[in-house]
């Protein structure tokens, strides 16, 4: 048997399908992308203000995508599971925050000195809620399956994703008076958030410098989205790099048995990864809900796809990579929306995912797989 396999591989008949596949992919993308890309660059130069505005949108996209991407990367880093339900945890975060907004009776008219402290409180409660949810998901849907096979928890994750989407659907039926009608009248329709974020343009003073023609907008909304994300990402980075528990989390990701031999409670550390990922996803859900003004039960799919791609682009398992990947995917999506077509953005992001998986599965900052051994 063994000698036979060696024989066929040395007869010269073995066609390098892998190589041909890669080359044809490159040819395909060059043919289809080169011309539009050139036109796009001309378009960008022709209208730099529009480009600048898209880059700002890209930054705000990047802010929430990074937050969600970290959840994928933290979990993958430690249990090598792609948590398919993660995008839906983000959706639940949006629903939870909207519910709290209703319960607290927050409206666009609520005075800022009441509104902002309450929004901060809602953010904290939402994060705690999705963190607990994510820990619970791991505890009940993944933990027992972890020792069975690699595939079992993955399938379980897909199941959890469906469950959460249905929870989102049912959530839309909530009608009790204390909610102040935030769920609207149609259960499945997108829910609208009140305008709680400042929309005033912070770049208005620049018109005095560049003249009336300068119409790039950077609003208070943009600032809050980006600022909150930066604070949360910074806090997470500090936690993971500098604190004892954070280091224990990285140690567990690098060598689970060795970590146990150091006295690290591996199960608790895995829970911690889910806790952090869930909290960040909840924050992202609230931020996006407020920013876009809507939330819908299936919003987790697209956000999940984008964020997962971001995590893979940065190097799945790598925390800095997820932040960088999130930023890049955010920018790419914003540029694609403007210069290709918003309809094509999903395809563009999927294309990027495929390209990375084919050509550089370790991502931009990913370590060699060998180093993990």
């Amino acid at each position: 048997m063994a000698t036979q396999t060696v024989d066929t591989s040395t007869t010269g008949r073995n066609i390098p399908w892998g190589l041909i596949g890669r080359i044809s992919l490159v040819v395909f993308f060059v043919l289809f992308l080169a011309v539009p890309l050139w036109n796009t660059i001309l378009e960008m130069i022709a209208n730099p203000q529009l480009l600048l505005r898209q880059l700002i949108i890209g930054l705000t996209n990047g802010a929430y995508i990074s937050l969600i991407a970290l959840g994928y990367t933290l979990v993958y880093g430690i249990v090598e599971l792609i948590n398919f339900a993660h995008g839906d945890v983000y959706m639940i975060g949006a629903f939870m925050s909207l519910t709290l907004i209703g319960l607290f009776g927050l409206q666009a008219a609520t005075p800022p000195e009441v509104r902002y402290p309450l929004m901060l409180l809602i953010l904290v409660i939402t994060m705690a809620f999705t963190a607990t949810l994510n820990v619970g998901i791991e505890r009940f849907a993944y933990r027992r399956l972890r020792t069975v096979s690699r595939l079992a928890p993955l399938i379980s994750a897909i199941g959890v994703s469906f469950i959460l989407q249905n929870v989102g659907l049912l959530w839309g039926y909530l009608r009790f008076p204390a909610l102040n009608g935030v769920m609207g009248s149609n259960a499945v329709a997108p829910k609208s958030f009140p305008n709680l974020l400042p929309t005033q343009n912070l770049l208005e003073p620049l018109q005095a410098v560049f003249g009336e023609g300068f119409r790039v907008r950077f609003t208070g909304k943009d600032l809050i989205m980006i600022g909150t994300a930066v604070v949360l990402l910074g806090a997470l980075y500090f936690f993971v790099q500098r604190t004892k528990l954070g280091k224990a989390m990285r140690a567990t990701a690098q060598d689970r048995d060795a970590a146990a031999l150091m006295g690290i409670n591996v199960n608790r550390t895995i829970s911690l990864a889910f806790l952090l990922g869930g909290a960040l996803a909840g924050a992202a859900g609230m931020l996006v809900g407020l920013y876009n003004g809507t939330a819908v039960f299936n919003m987790g799919f697209k956000a999940g796809l984008f964020s997962f791609t971001a995590a893979v682009l940065g190097g799945i398992g790598n925390i800095t990579g997820a932040m960088l990947g999130g930023l890049l995917i955010g920018l790419i999506a914003a540029l694609s929306d403007q210069y290709i077509n918003a309809k094509w953005t999903n395809a563009v992001i999927f294309g990027i995912l495929v390209l990375i998986l084919v050509f550089r599965p370790t991502g931009l900052l990913g370590e060699n797989v060998q180093q993990k051994a």
Partner: protein, 241 residues
Amino acid sequence: MSTTTPLLELRNVHSYYGNIQALKGISLTVNEGEIVTLIGSNGAGKSTTLRTISGIIHPRSGEILLDNKRIDHIPPHDVVKLGVLQSPEGRRIFPRLSVRDNLEMGAFTRNDTAGIAEDMERVFDLFPRLRERANQKGGTLSGGEQQMLAIGRALMGRPRVLLLDEPSMGLAPVLVEQIFNIIKEINSQGTTVLLVEQNALMALEIAHRGYVLQTGQIVLADTAKALSENEMVQKAYLGVE
């Protein structure tokens, strides 16, 4: 400085990997202050014995006692809390944590900041190379340095019993000599050592007592001196014809 207090004791321990039986009734004792060595050829079950003591795998039957209290069936992180630390086979240092952070992980169960800092100095004094490399990633160290780090990391937990799994594996003879001297020094500072080795010659030289393991069973138990003079040990493990 061997007294006769049994610190660690295994009684008729049976361990399995799935359906494969790896340990077929191991009984051994390690007294306070001793270096006890466990020698045997490839696949004899040496690492499995240490893994069972640490709680990475649990015995299907038999008892493991520390200070006369059962520790089998408690999870590995709790075994560490009781003062049993292991430097595992193949070093298993954390490649992408710095040397200092690796050492810090060894002290994970402790909260006495001052004591931890003190012990880190002690480890750096034992292994000056680690001090020079303190901020380097563990994965960039040489094999010998990684071994030092693995031992140092286990010491950071202030072990009552230090379990060492083949600390000489893959090291140049000069380094092996150095590592064994350090193990002796660690022991003379009061740490009890259970040393697994394929390098039986060196192990029996520094140990007080030893056990010979063959396919999951203890076939010989004696003082280190007697074992190194035993004909069967000489033939099988010391390369004496």
